[in-house]
């Protein structure tokens, strides 16, 4: 039977077991939405396409299933761009479907025409402009396959209006054959043996785990390896929920705002096992002097990540879960006691610290610590970008896989709130918090309408320091305190704003009210926003100045 291109998209989504999509309609996706009307697929309407993109991204990170977004041509498509880039930088499996003007109009600067495949070329794993309706089933199959296999990432399919309307025979392919795409899953046995030897010989080993652990579902294997060999584990921001933060072997995050002891451990280690991480400059500081005493074993599914930023001794290209499974077979227990004691000393010497005067202003870290205590590290958390994000990384100990969504690579303010909504949609039975800054929250606060419309009961904690704290901190350190455009006194009353949308809004100004407010929000069945008015001049410490060695940390304010 012949069906239209728009119908094919719906059939294909059913074949891919997509039950929820995020989107925003428009002229060049009329046919797609018209066909969506007849399906059981749940469509979540955002209030801005960027919100849809980030929400679907949060959905994907929380569930491991691809996030699917539908948007119209032109501005609908360009509004997705930040969302696509965020997903690309963090390797999130996503499929974006955009409408396009009819083929005869392409290239004529038609109304709402934009070359979205051209624009998204550098921020998608791959993209397609569909020129013939007969190719549509194969393209959609390939798009889902590309997004969810190998190193995951966003794929965009641009479908002109006349292709949506054209009819053809529909048969959804069972298999995919893409000649230029053959990810390596099984690690090379020789390399795995070499890696195992390096691990076994190490006296001062450290595991440095990243988002690849989450993407490959290697949570158990990583935990087992760390425990079996007594290796302490530090993670990147992306890797935070890939290893239990309250585990005795957990060192917390490393790098620019990592813990002192994690950075010291890495800098003094004789072996680093990098697992699904990419030696980003926020992690390494001066890459030439990163872990200079260590033999580096690097497991990654993307061969291009190996040797890109840091010279590696034992590269192992493959799926993290499969490689760790093989490594486990070759490794026995080893005695790392003295090394762990040394790390414990560093921790004792320079712990994470802040003070909270119960009669003074609220410390931002205090709020995050209380959220951690109240949720016992079990909540799903999305963060925005800035100081609150780093404090979340430092003070919230994630204990479950896929419990953090944060824009790590792109660092997109405005990501966290819609992402938290997507996390909640994907895992409706969980408690979801969004930890936000006053600056970031305003960037996509319109999605309060989405939260209320679909009764998505996310709890938003705005760490409101009345300024763009991270930029202010940078201006303090690197611009001699010449503060410019970082003062955010002029923001709406967030509690009233939440109420105006129909959510619960709370405002907290005293330390003693922090916990009661969290409890009130938790007791409320719908979305809630808590505006925590915190002190405005707190800095994130410790900190590594740009391009410095990561063990040369500024530990705190000069007093």
């Amino acid at each position: 039977m012949k069906i239209s291109g728009a119908q094919m998209v719906m059939e294909a989504l059913k074949h891919e077991n997509v039950d929820t999509i995020f989107g925003y309609p428009g002229g060049n996706v009329l046919n797609l939405y018209d066909m969506l009307y007849d399906t059981d697929i749940r469509h979540i309407l955002s209030r801005h396409e960027q919100g849809a993109a980030h929400a679907a991204d949060g959905y994907a990170r929380a569930t491991g299933k691809p996030g699917v977004v539908l948007a119209t041509s032109g501005p609908g498509a360009t509004n997705l761009v930040t969302g696509i880039a965020a997903a690309y930088m963090d390797s999130v499996p996503m499929v974006f479907i955009t409408g396009q003007v009819a083929i005869p109009l392409i290239g004529t600067d038609a109304f709402q025409e934009v070359d979205i495949t051209g624009i998204t070329l550098p921020i998608t794993k791959h993209n397609f402009l569909v020129k013939d309706v007969r190719e549509l089933p194969t393209i959609i199959k390939q798009a889902f396959y590309l997004a969810t296999t190998g190193r995951c990432g966003p794929v965009l399919i641009d479908i002109p209006k006349d292709v949506q309307q054209a009819v053809a025979e529909f048969r959804y392919p069972e298999n995919v054959s893409i000649p230029g795409y053959n990810p390596t899953y099984n690690g090379h046995p020789g390399q795995i043996s070499r890696g195992a030897r390096a691990i076994a010989r190490a006296k001062k080993p450290v595991i440095y785990a990243g988002g690849g652990v989450t993407n490959s579902g290697a949570y158990e294997e990583l935990l087992q390896l760390a425990e079996q060999c007594g290796i302490p584990v530090t993670t990147t921001l992306m890797g935070l929920s890939a290893f239990p933060g309250n585990h005795p072997l957990a060192l917390g995050m490393l790098g620019m705002h990592g813990t002192y002891w994690a950075n010291m451990a890495v800098s003094n280690a004789d072996m680093i096992l990098a697992v699904g991480a990419r030696f980003d400059e926020r992690v390494t500081g001066d890459a030439k002097r990163f872990a200079s005493k260590a033999k580096i074993v690097h497991i990654d599914i993307d061969p291009a990540e190996i040797g890109k930023n840091v010279q590696v001794d034992v590269p192992i290209v493959g799926d993290v879960k499969l490689v760790l499974t093989e490594l486990l077979k070759k490794l026995g227990p080893s005695d790392t006691g003295p090394w762990l004691e040394k790390i414990a000393k560093w921790k004792e010497e320079t712990p994470l610290s802040y003070s909270q005067d119960m009669n003074g202003e609220i410390s931002p870290q205090f709020v995050i610590e209380k959220i951690y205590e109240k949720t016992q590290g079990k909540a799903l958390i999305a963060t925005e970008v800035g100081q609150h994000q780093m404090w979340t990384a430092q003070y919230y100990k994630f204990t479950r896989p896929r419990s953090l969504a944060s824009s790590g690579g792109l660092g997109a303010m405005g990501y966290g709130f819609p992402a938290s909504l997507g996390m909640q949609v994907g895992r409706p039975d969980e408690l979801v918090f969004c930890i936000a800054g006053d600056g970031s929250f305003l960037m996509n606060s319109q999605e309060l309408a989405m939260a209320v419309e679909y009764n998505i009961p996310v709890k938003v904690a705005i760490i409101n320091n009345q300024c763009l704290g991270m930029v202010r901190q940078l201006q303090q350190f690197y611009c001699k305190g010449r503060y410019i455009s970082v003062d955010l006194q002029q923001v709406p009353d967030f509690a009233k704003m939440a109420e105006a949308y129909g959510a619960l809004g709370l405002r907290v100004e005293k330390p003693a009210d922090v916990v009661p407010a969290i409890e009130e929000a938790l007791a409320f069945s719908g979305p809630a926003v808590i505006d925590f008015r915190v002190m405005s001049n707190t800095n994130v410490f410790p900190m590594v100045p740009p391009n410095s060695q990561i063990n040369k940390m500024i530990k705190g304010e000069q007093k």
């Binding site: 495949t117 051209g118 070329l121 550098p122 794993k125 791959h126 402009l129 020129k131 590309l146 893409i178 000649p179 230029g180 795409y181 993307d302 061969p303 291009a304 040797g307 890109k308």
Partner: protein, 162 residues
């Protein structure tokens, strides 16, 4: 150092942009790029000359492989291969110096493909040294315009890139 890569790609719209875009956004230096169809239907071959050190070259090859439409990347730099470039050179020439120029052309086994009252067009095929040499000699006259195809290269012997 200068490297020569043979890149087999799927013959699909936008592939050239994907490859060129990769080079520009990652800051790799393309010296020349030539592309054309192969005997294999739907497969095109690009010859890309890059200026890079060994580490960057490794990244270039790996990043090229990440493009879904790229089928194979071969480094021909160290392999015994034949490489050629075709150049069209328009030189200002009149009765007075035409014969002189013709002599240079013959020495290099190049061809004069167009003669006008005040100019001639010379077609040269060869490797880089040959093209540089003839360009240098012709520069004593007025070179009006130069068009180059970019280098293409093929392995010597029966070995092929597929």
């Amino acid at each position: 150092m200068r490297y020569v890569l043979a890149v087999l790609v799927e013959d699909k719209p936008g592939v050239l942009v994907r490859v060129a875009g990769l080079f520009s956004r990652r800051g790799y230096n393309i010296e020349s790029l030539a592309v054309g169809k192969t005997v294999e239907p739907m497969v095109s071959r690009m010859t890309i000359e890059v200026e890079a050190d060994e580490k960057i070259l490794e990244q270039i090859i790996k990043q090229l492989y990440k493009l879904i439409n790229v089928l194979k990347v071969s480094n021909l730099t160290q392999e015994p291969s034949v490489d050629r470039e075709l150049v069209l050179i328009k030189v200002s020439a009149d009765v007075g110096n035409r014969a002189e120029i013709q002599q240079i052309v013959e020495t290099f086994r190049a061809k004069i493909v167009d003669v006008a009252l005040n100019s001639i067009i010379i077609e040269v095929t060869g490797n880089q040294e040959k093209i540089e040499a003839i360009t240098m000699l012709l520069s004593q006259y007025t070179i009006l315009e130069v068009v180059r195809t970019g280098k293409i290269a093929i392995l010597r012997g029966s070995k092929t890139i597929k």
